[in-house]
């Protein structure tokens, strides 16, 4: 029933777009015609780009909620990622030229701190050897990644990438804090998630002000685009899929990967069991606590990629005024997650739909219609409300929002 409703909704929206394009082709001088002119390859590319923060938040949310932890702090994690990326990029690529060293040191220190935190929380294993191998391995992997980046990219681009990695780790650390608060200290997940959002909403403009004397940052270099030779020459899809920002490729990989991990691996099975029936998972000898920590950490890492991708991907600065440059994308991501029924592909599709509306909104503003910008801006938000009302109740994991205590302590 629900699935039918969802499919119908998707079909109707696709048909609507199709109808607009068709009418536009037949009657080029009508408003629909002008609208259709807007829907070109550039429009598809910008939709895909705008989908990045929404979809990464949604994918992260899927892992957390399927493991039984409702993470509504995704908006805050996106803000943290967006701000940290720009702040570190500005710090390492300051006015006095690029200094790669401090950035790499910061990255490794953060990785080591995360490994230590993981060891202290008992997440890395039981024996000392396990802890050393996993913690050390994690730090080593980060070091190798940094080394490869420096070897492959020029100094400025490498520094931007290091800033990107730092942003992902900081967002991950912030989600770890949320995990400790909700899993260890049984905080109410919804209130704690709100707090994560409000802390980030205050902290990012605060730190911007401290560093730059303004809630908005100066411009920094971006990650640029990756162009696939030959394939990018393909008509229509070439410029959309094969001449895009790195984070767009990440998203195109992360979506099927998330689906694969969730449905085809034993870790994915644990995540789902931890959300549906933690008792059974516990009885089977799997540590529910560790699974939930891992799932929340994934939501933090994904949100970090989405947030840093938003700020370092194309614009190359951080906007901290009002609701910051993230501007509700985390909340829209949660809606995309619900709309997609906790399925990575569904969430990706829903994110793309919302992003397409957002892109359309930007295009309409450029067309200078009689409709004022402030009204056009509401289109994505109103759509979210309509979608929520139509989708209604979703089948959440049974144990979502509940603490799980194993009886051992």
């Amino acid at each position: 029933m629900k699935a039918i409703k969802r499919l119908a909704l998707l079909a109707v929206s696709t048909l609507a777009v199709g109808a607009v394009v068709l009418i536009g082709q037949l009657f080029p001088n009508t408003p629909a015609g002008e609208l259709a002119n807007v829907l070109d390859a550039g429009y598809a590319a910008s939709s895909l780009r705008l989908a990045v923060p929404i979809a990464f938040a949604a994918l992260g949310g899927i892992f957390a909620e399927r493991s039984g932890v409702i993470n509504i702090g995704l908006e805050g994690l996106l803000i943290v990622g967006a701000f940290t990326g720009v702040a570190v990029a500005h710090w390492t690529i300051g006015d006095g030229g690029v200094s790669l060293g401090p950035g790499i040191v910061l990255l490794l220190v953060l990785a080591a701190l995360l490994a230590i935190a993981g060891a202290l929380l008992g997440l890395l294993g039981d024996s000392l050897r396990e802890i050393a191998v996993r913690g050390g391995g994690g730090v080593l992997a980060v070091a190798v990644l940094a080394g490869l980046t420096v070897a492959l990219a020029g100094p400025t681009l490498a520094a931007t990438w290091i800033a990107f990695y730092v942003a992902v780790l900081v967002s991950g650390a912030f989600s770890l804090l949320f995990a400790v608060v909700t899993i260890e200290y049984r905080a109410d997940q919804v209130i704690a998630g709100l707090a994560v959002w409000l802390i980030a909403l205050g902290a990012a403009p605060f730190a911007s002000n401290v560093i730059w004397g303004s809630v908005n940052s100066p411009g920094v270099d971006t990650l640029g685009t990756w162009t696939v030779p030959l394939l990018s020459q393909l008509p229509a899809i070439g410029s959309v899929l094969f001449d895009a920002e790195p984070v767009v490729y990440f998203l195109l990989v992360a979506t099927p990967l998330s689906w694969y991990v969730l449905t085809q691996t034993s870790f994915g099975y644990w995540v789902r069991a931890s959300g549906e029936n933690p008792k059974a998972l516990d009885t089977a000898g799997v540590d529910v606590r560790r699974v939930r920590y891992a799932a929340v950490l994934i939501s933090g890492v994904f949100s970090g990629i989405g947030g840093a991708g938003l700020s370092l991907g194309r614009v190359g600065n951080f906007v901290g005024s009002g609701t910051t440059m993230v501007d509700g994308r985390g909340w829209i991501g949660i809606t995309a997650m619900l709309f997609g029924n906790y399925n990575p592909f569904g969430a990706f599709g829903a994110s793309l739909l919302f992003a397409a509306l957002d892109a359309l909104q930007f295009r309409l503003q450029q067309l200078n219609y009689a409709i004022p910008d402030s009204l056009i801006q509401t289109v994505p938000y109103v759509t979210v409300i309509v979608v929520l009302a139509l989708v209604g109740r979703t089948r959440t994991p049974d144990a979502a929002g509940e603490h799980y205590d194993s009886d051992e302590d």
Binding site: E65, I70, I72, V181, Y185, R186, A187, D188, Q189, V190, I191, A192, L194, A195, V196, W197, L198, I199, A200, L201, G202, A203, P205, F206, A207, N209, V210, I211, V215, T323, D327, G328, W331, I334, T335, M337, L338, P372, S374, L375, Q377, T378, Y381, V382, V384, I385, L388, A389, L390, V391, G392, R393, T394, R395, T396, A400, G401, E402, H403
Partner: protein
């Protein structure tokens, strides 16, 4: 995120809060506040290392947390301007704190007080400007305009909150997300309405015409109204059958349903009531603080969440938490101008307070560890 699921965690919190004695709730709130202030102090100190200033303390620290907190909490005592601002902010935060408390008590996360306040404020300003010429002159006329404006604010705020209420009740749409989305919509729509139809002639910023001066009042009257409303809401929640139903629906939706409470109607009613209080707060903001609607409404709605959470969603607790944050908001301008510490610091502390109040278990553990008898 499931609408079905959300009452679970709320019920969990409520159980814990109801089980816990009022004394323990107070201890958790005070401990959370003190911890948030300590953490905020550390944040200030650390941030000072990254800031630039001419005379850092001890060579590296630009910001002095003690000076910051002196401005945030004690400035009303020695600075009459800050005192006035504190009184105004306190009154406004009493309204928004109450608005949030009513919805949270009913088991609904109304995060949309901000949007309800923005539109309520706009309605109040327009109503006051509109009836202004028709009202008799003198204080009676002024009071009349003020009443009309406040009714307009409450009605529009209530109607705007009824939307997510109805969506929650009849379409199962999660109210956290719908209210946040409606916040975005409210500010865009208000901006559009004012810039397109109600713009003050010759003004560079987006604002309405000034409300008649006779309709404006000072923070004292606003505070009296806010306290009276607090007592009224306390009576409504604990002294009437409606209040009993509302609280039962919040703690035990099934029990309320069994007792014959129309759950769907209760959702819409309590959201509307919450929105009316928020809209009333918007009207007070217009009549007391600015004298017109102007773009860039302060985040009173979000601060209301902190106030309510800190007060365990208890209207009488709001009476203490409101002025506390009113003082912090008023002092935030001073720390910016006098000490050069960005005023967004208060936003960080706001989030920390909510986070810490949400984890009573943390303080229980601390209590046990320190052997203070706080643990059970």
């Amino acid at each position: 995120m499931n609408p079905d699921r959300l009452p679970g965690p709320i019920a969990g919190v409520m159980d814990r809060l109801v089980d816990a004695s009022a004394g323990e709730r107070l201890v958790v709130s005070v401990a959370a506040l003190i911890t948030a202030i300590l953490l905020g102090g550390i944040v200030t100190l650390v941030a000072g290392v990254f800031a630039e200033c001419s005379t850092p303390m001890l060579g590296t620290f630009c910001y002095n947390p003690l000076a910051v907190y002196r401005y945030l909490f004690l400035a009303p005592l020695f600075d009459s301007f800050v005192l006035q601002e504190t009184l105004k902010n306190s009154a406004l935060l009493l309204f928004t704190g109450l608005a949030v408390a009513v919805s949270f008590r009913a088991g609904l996360f109304n995060i949309g007080t901000q949007g309800q306040l923005v539109l309520g404020a706009l309605a109040a300003a327009l109503a006051a400007v509109w009836v202004g010429p028709a009202a008799p002159s003198g204080p009676v006329g002024g009071a009349l305009i003020a009443v009309v404006a406040m009714v307009a604010g409450a009605v529009v705020g209530g109607l705007y909150a009824a939307i997510p209420g109805a969506l929650k009740a009849y379409a199962d749409a999660n109210e956290v997300i719908t209210t946040i989305m409606l916040n975005f919509v409210a500010s865009d729509v208000a901006f559009f309405l004012v810039s397109a139809y109600f713009q003050k002639p010759g003004s560079g910023s987006v604002e309405t015409r000034d409300v008649p001066a006779a309709a404006r009042f000072g923070p004292e009257i606003a505070l009296v109204m806010a306290v009276a409303l607090t007592l009224l809401i306390t009576y409504l929640l604990w002294g009437t059958a409606f209040g009993y139903d509302l609280r039962t629906a919040g703690i035990q939706p099934d029990a309320a349903d069994y007792a014959g409470v129309d759950a769907k109607r209760m959702v819409v009613t309590s959201m509307t009531l919450s929105g009316m209080i928020g809209g009333l707060g918007g009207a007070v903001w217009v009549l007391m603080s600015v004298g017109r609607w102007v773009n860039g409404v302060p985040s009173l709605g979000f601060d209301g969440i902190t106030v309510s959470v800190l007060a365990s969603n208890n209207p009488l607790g709001v009476l203490f938490a409101g002025p506390l944050f009113g003082s912090m908001q008023a002092g935030s301008l001073s720390i910016d101008f006098q000490l050069g510490v960005p005023r967004q610091l208060v936003g960080v502390i706001r989030g920390l307070v909510i986070l810490l109040v949400a984890m009573p278990e943390f303080f229980r553990t601390l209590g046990v560890r320190w052997g203070m008898g706080g643990g059970r």
